[in-house]
Symmetry: C2
Subunit: 329 residues, 2 copies
Amino acid sequence: MAAEESVVVSNDFALNNNKENGVVSASSNDPNAISSVIPGWFSEISPMWPGEAHSLKVEKILFQGKSEYQNVTVFQSSTYGKVLVLDGVIQLTERDECAYQEMITHLPLCSIPNPKKVLVIGGGDGGVLREVARHSSVEKIDICEIDKMVIDVSKQFFPDVAVGYEDKRVTLHVGDGVAFLKAVPEGTYDAVIVDSSDPIGPAKELFEKPFFESVARALRPGGVVCTQAESIWLHMHIIEDIVENCRQIFKGSVNYAWTTVPTYPSGMIGFMLCSTEGPVVDFKHPVNPIDENDSQHSASPLKFYNSELHTAAFSLPSFAKKAIGSKTN
Amino acid sequence: MAAEESVVVSNDFALNNNKENGVVSASSNDPNAISSVIPGWFSEISPMWPGEAHSLKVEKILFQGKSEYQNVTVFQSSTYGKVLVLDGVIQLTERDECAYQEMITHLPLCSIPNPKKVLVIGGGDGGVLREVARHSSVEKIDICEIDKMVIDVSKQFFPDVAVGYEDKRVTLHVGDGVAFLKAVPEGTYDAVIVDSSDPIGPAKELFEKPFFESVARALRPGGVVCTQAESIWLHMHIIEDIVENCRQIFKGSVNYAWTTVPTYPSGMIGFMLCSTEGPVVDFKHPVNPIDENDSQHSASPLKFYNSELHTAAFSLPSFAKKAIGSKTN
């Protein structure tokens, strides 16, 4: 039998094609993408990672909605706990969210002494807030999330993640992060964490140069930014562009780190870590270690992050080093 | 619509269920596992990682066969190059094989000075041989692979991987690795690399204590072994057992390292690295660095491995450190 004969399109679309109920996959952004699933499973098919898909078995769909910005889905998976999906792309699962939330937060905050004012752009699920709150030096945590539905859904279905909102230092701003940053007085923050979705959809601007300029302006001298920055296996060209933009804007240091996250495409995700001109920030050697037993503001200990892993996260495979090594610290 | 209503079983099994043509998924080992696919895609469904599946889009099936030991499939994927599948589980893709082959080989060989005699158990595709051959100190490379079909298929479809067989220092033994090791004179090898499939199927014995005892006996004092050792996200209990066994048998050091491999379940794979009593081996600090421009015996430069990544590979997330940290170096 030739393979071609078996390439058929199923009519058993279980989730992705059920547009009436507000559930569409990321492939709906691309009319040419194949939109099919393993029946009873959620399949993550996107033009951002053509030719591959990760699927999770669905026990029960808990929520389906369409906000002003995107499609929001929550389902109970059979082995990864509850799962939050935006526009067909997995944002977090209860089983592995620790890796992303802890790394995107502590990589920047453990790299500077006594962070006091922190801004989170995106991160509507509250997980980054939960992690920022572990730092007792922090006095003020602003969060600017564009999509209220993400916040509400997280509070309802992911209480262990959205617990971050309960910290008294948190101020929630529902709105556009780009506009919010423009209105921020210069030099306000010690750290900005950009917890965005992919550069297709509402987060597009968060990967562009004007946004990085606003971030740099909002940071104090020697302040730090950490942004979600895709996978070296899938998006090396996007990463090269981001590095190039950051190199022009952040006059302190520019670094790339990565971590394992099983339910993200290619099983990993990267971060851009940059600092503004001022006191030198050596991201690879954390000066503000966080002790897993010293989390006054959090009920649960760290599951993933530690100082050794912090340093290791900046070691890149040779192919990635070749592409961006000369432009990072 | 309740999710349950959409859980249907497709009859469009494109690849996995086509047993007549010798193509079955790993799920065929478990009659209760769901055996379904995205039509036109290869889906990796296994009781080893229930509730999740990684799928690759198939351009063309290039080979389907059933050897004495397992089902062997090769297909052209649309974005990962050619793919080798054994019993429904992806063994390598042309796009990311560099990560696994380079790490499983250079982690042990760069940790000891002047490795001369190396044994590879499994690794029938030849990729580990290709990597061992980069080391100019090596005089003899034995490989013991149980399944001749894997060797033949690799030579036919993966010439850039099977190129390892062309090195004059290589001696191929087709047979059972366990029996081969028992017949090896004590203290023969500087390094043994166990490039096995998962502990379900023909590789089962390669994860058990008697096998590790044979490996230790075949190594010189201060010799090293590196074995494929699953994912900390999926198989922490298997890893704990392996660590426990190794702790009892290898009186030098016992270490766990990991690397990113997008097409392996959870996007990563780990390695056990142990040494026998004798000259101390500090795996975390390579003493025998390999220069990517100094590969006399290989046409292509290293794509993935470098000394910095070597050290970083031993840094574990806190949940894994908690489980095995006290039993590893």
